[in-house]
Subunit: 376 residues, 4 copies
């Protein structure tokens, strides 16, 4: 059960404490307070866990500060959509608004290699009108003897370059608790020139301890990649881990599944799940066409499969795109062959714009058709 | 090796026979003649199988009637795309042109039930401006005790209704050699009021004997569904079975793969393979959103997943759509829950039109970008 | 619902006809008569399909000739095991008894190549004390240009050689209705020197028309291979197709599943399903280690993976083994690399004997333990 | 390249330091020293990473203390088997010897619940003659709101009970770096009454940071479970992470794969990979029949599928078995339905003994056959 408090409820007020006191006396029920930073106001929600079946909605609604009560079904209590549940499906971070209704492109380096490449990439991204990027400092690799990323020592160059080019958010994978502190410290040391979205990779989707650690901080929003060998439900439960610890600023990323049936693509592209994630949860949905497709092969119409996959995601309402670009793909230390060249970025973005426009028209068409149907 | 003859080569001419005589004397080489009915002319191609490595291209090109020689790589000899291979990627049937460049919607009944439902459906399809439909007379069912379709006894009503409403092509699944004769006879008996595209279902993708039988006739074009548990390469090889027996008017249909990773959809939608099939072969590519997705569930934007999947196929260049519609889905004998209602068809078609328009713009954009790149 | 008639019921007797008459008057119920050739007697069973929920068991049990009534659950009506169902789990063919309790090895050629190889193989098989073999005349191949087997022209040599060496049953794949007639005719022409078990391959597991054709004859028992990309339940339903048409002399063969998770083996070996098939149905269970594993690789203990897989099947109660052997594997036209050499056959059989002995001891142990537990 | 030093080389000796000095001067080469505690002696191995292609084997063999040189292929440098590589495939821990040649049963609680259940289980295990058990204190759960184990607070009872009953090794899952310290401290506090084998679960197989942390300590050996959605090669690479950090006392555990093709079992049992792991690496191989099969269902011979799966693993040479038992399965907090009751343990062990005996006979048979073959 979720108690949604009146907007801008003062957490120092006596009414607020009275409500918490009451909740603390309910037998078998635990209350967890979550704060959601919206575009214009701060929302406070109180999640009641445990024996909530015994609670009366009307009684809870009568408590001080409580504006509305949502009884949740078993799955995805916090991030899920429930009956009569109009909680927000968006959040803001460092001036950028993430939502199930809009679209952001995060183009950047899969793996940070040299300061020059970082800076060239940031410049190209900014010139293309984007305010977000991706930069891989910590790289989990299947083979223990492969290059594992420059780690914390590259963070200063990366953050400074981002600040120089006005980049607001960098998606960056973390694979260990300690990486959060390293990122936090490097950001502070650089004077907070940019923001970071913590990325959890597909091999760590069910690394529940890492999820809990990342979920316990609310400085950084989180981009959680779907596990490549588990069901969608299991991956959505993993996202709920983040929220259950307190951080519900989570974006869910589809990145293709591992199976022999998706060949010749590197993974079996799963972007048809975009509407499913939106229906089951309130998370914005990201797609990762670079790792899903994994090559630059093109069809006879001249369009790379990777761009077709992107358009497929966007035309169905994707809210974010992770894209590998590189100033010199042949010199990239990781996944060079799938990267777009910097000079191809404008083409890619124009292609995305066409697909997004089609999505918006489709959405308007549906509204018109459904409204007409309801009138009948 | 393929010898492409001059257009409209007369197969009764002495030059033609001289060429065939020459080929018949080549040691270890077998020649098979294929005729391809194009939009404006008839093309004749001679496929040389066996020890063709020993043949000189220039020598073959010098034979009478031969206009061009294509040396094929190992895979998909007839249907594949090979180096310097500009053979056609289209064919005509009963006045309808099928190609890797255009788009047709085949809306109709998954399983024929009553004459009334057939006629209501045909009327709605025709009124929506379509000239093609799908009608299932022979239904392969997992459980031997389930309804298996009305079989040949429904063919007369189906063909008459099609004729009445001006439907030109009906996609119809066949599961046994004998069904071809039944369809042929029923069409003749009804005075050929319409045409039939023979459909091979996913359970028969590797029923090589059926493929050979269907490949040996050239009256009807063929819609081959991808096998739901085999690699794309294996399914493309199955298509080549049809062509190797003489029928290269083949459309390849993506219909989702069986795996637990696609839940909650009925199958794991594989429409990202559209550009792959177009790159590897010259077959037009069909998508089957109804069976792939298998439900009418919708996302918060009001659009059914099935329509999102369709748009994803179309925005990446799909050439044909198989769609289940039904006048009364709750009464359908097979797969009712996934069928669109007839009154939703116009919405669906308008949604498809928006996605197709986006595809065409994307294609033009790519041409412009690539042309500019080449100029540099 | 199944009516099990008294043993050796005379199908010409007035009582028998009285019973059938009665059944024919039941509304919405269809009766199908099946005869089961047991070791010592012939059993007749009448399957009632349709609206059987309305029937009273006691009323049916009171009909003439009826000895016992079994109400079946939905799945696998004929081949399944149902509550209080002690119908036989065995059948005899050409003097060989197949059962869920015993074990037969069918060693032979995956693909028939030359008369000499056939005869050498038959001799080795007979000398090893076996009375069954496998011989592939019709080979379904993924690529249409690959060798597809010698077909009917090799049947005379194969059957004559079998007769010469006293082989009683040959497992032989069929892929088309016509093959049954060819096999029947060749056997007759040769004077019935041996018997044939018709084998349905994994690509035809859901070729329902072929299953129905094979199910409508009762001359030959059937070996049905599990489909390599479908669930066990779907494959068992395919077996039921055979039985629903009248032939319940069916053996179910596990042969590994297609997925990337079984590498480096050719297929993901599924022999752990042996007890499951025995629990759900009354079919004897065969294993195909040659195609499952697909190589001769060995572990440091010197034992080939293929033999380990065989032992794993046998120790869990497998009833039949299909094994590829070849007099000269390097010359085999199909699947040579996985074949055992003829001189390795005695080792293989001794290895199987050790595993079978372990199974029998395990079975006895279970009986003792469970008996003791029941006494307590 | 691996330099195997003379047994019991003194790491304080001048020769040893001379050798290390020499290695440190090789350009582009890094040396890592590993110590392997064998049954009777301590072996020291020096792994050379980097540009080792340039090194001469003879020159390396001439260095002081070096007894033998093994040039390794790319994969699994430390744990793998390489050409002419006779490094040990066994290790000792707390008086128990683990090897590719023997077999240990670890029966115990999937999840620790009460001190009484722990003690009852330890007693039954000890009475059955076993010296190892499994006890789950930290339980990773798919759903964040499910019971996650008692964690460190149960360690004192568990270790004390183990000591009381003479249990030598407890397999215990860890999911976070911090758990190692908790286990270490609790063992010390209890006076080291038993030993612990750290278990990495299937959701953490590619949690490389955890693997590195666990690999950096050598107090505890490690049981690494195969990842349920990745290839065998990827899981073996994960094992190599442990070794590359210094801990090569690793046992590899097969536990079934996640796919819809293994139904009705909880996972698709993969025990046919036992000989593959033994061929590719020197790790002993464990099987986990409880989680693979996931139920107590039995076949008509009265034997549970779980016991059949176990016998299949053992007959092919498995070296360790993880088994869930519980004094009162219906009260278990996690995975009760699949647990064996304590009074069934003797049956299980006798069943295992029969399968192991069969394996040993099969191994001897192979040695005889291969020896004879070599003589010819």
């Amino acid at each position: 059960m979720i108690l949604i408090l009146a907007p801008d409820t003062d957490r120092e007020s006596p009414q607020y404490h009275e409500m918490l006191d009451h909740l603390s006396r309910l037998p078998g029920v635990t209350a967890r307070v979550h704060q959601v930073q919206g575009r214009e106001q701060t929302l406070t929600e109180v999640y009641l866990l445990g024996n909530t079946a015994a609670l009366e909605e009307s009684e809870m609604a009568a408590l001080p500060c409580v504006e509305r009560v949502v009884r949740v079904s078993a799955d995805y209590r916090i991030l899920g959509r429930h009956k009569d549940d109009d909680r927000a499906a968006h959040f803001a971070y460092n001036g950028v608004d993430f939502s199930q209704d809009n679209l952001h492109v995060f183009a950047g380096l899969c793996a940070v290699d040299t300061p020059e490449h970082v800076d060239q990439t940031m410049r190209a991204v900014a010139e293309a009108g984007l305010s977000c990027t991706r930069m891989g400092a910590y790289k989990p690799r299947t083979n223990p003897y492969a290059f594992q990323g420059h780690g914390k020592r590259c963070l200063p160059w990366v953050f400074e370059s981002a600040g120089r080019h006005g980049i607001k958010v960098i998606a960056m994978e973390v694979t260990h608790d300690g990486h959060l502190e390293e990122i936090h410290d490097a950001l502070e040391a650089a004077g907070r020139p940019t923001g970071v979205m913590l990325q959890i990779g597909t091999r760590n989707t069910q690394n529940f301890e890492l999820l809990k650690h990342v979920g316990r901080q609310t400085d950084f929003p989180v981009l959680l990649k779907r596990g490549f060998g588990i069901t969608l439900e299991e991956s959505l439960n993993a996202a709920e881990y983040l929220a259950s610890e307190g951080n519900s600023r989570v974006i869910f990323c589809l990145r293709g599944m591992k199976t022999h049936l998706g060949d010749p693509h590197r993974n079996f592209v799963d972007f048809t799940h975009i509407p499913v994630v939106k229906r089951l949860t309130r998370m914005p949905v990201c797609i990762d066409p670079s790792h899903s497709v994994g090559s630059r092969a093109a069809s006879p119409d001249g369009i790379m499969d990777m761009m077709h996959a992107t358009a497929q995601g966007v035309v169905a309402g994707a809210n974010m795109i992770l894209l590998d670009v590189h100033p010199a793909p042949q010199k990239a230390l990781v996944d060079g062959p799938q990267a777009l060249r910097l000079e191809e970025l404008p083409w890619f973005l124009e292609d995305v714009r066409l697909a997004r426009e089609a999505y918006e028209r489709r959405r308007d068409l549906a509204q018109r058709f459904l409204a007409e149907q309801n009138r009948q």
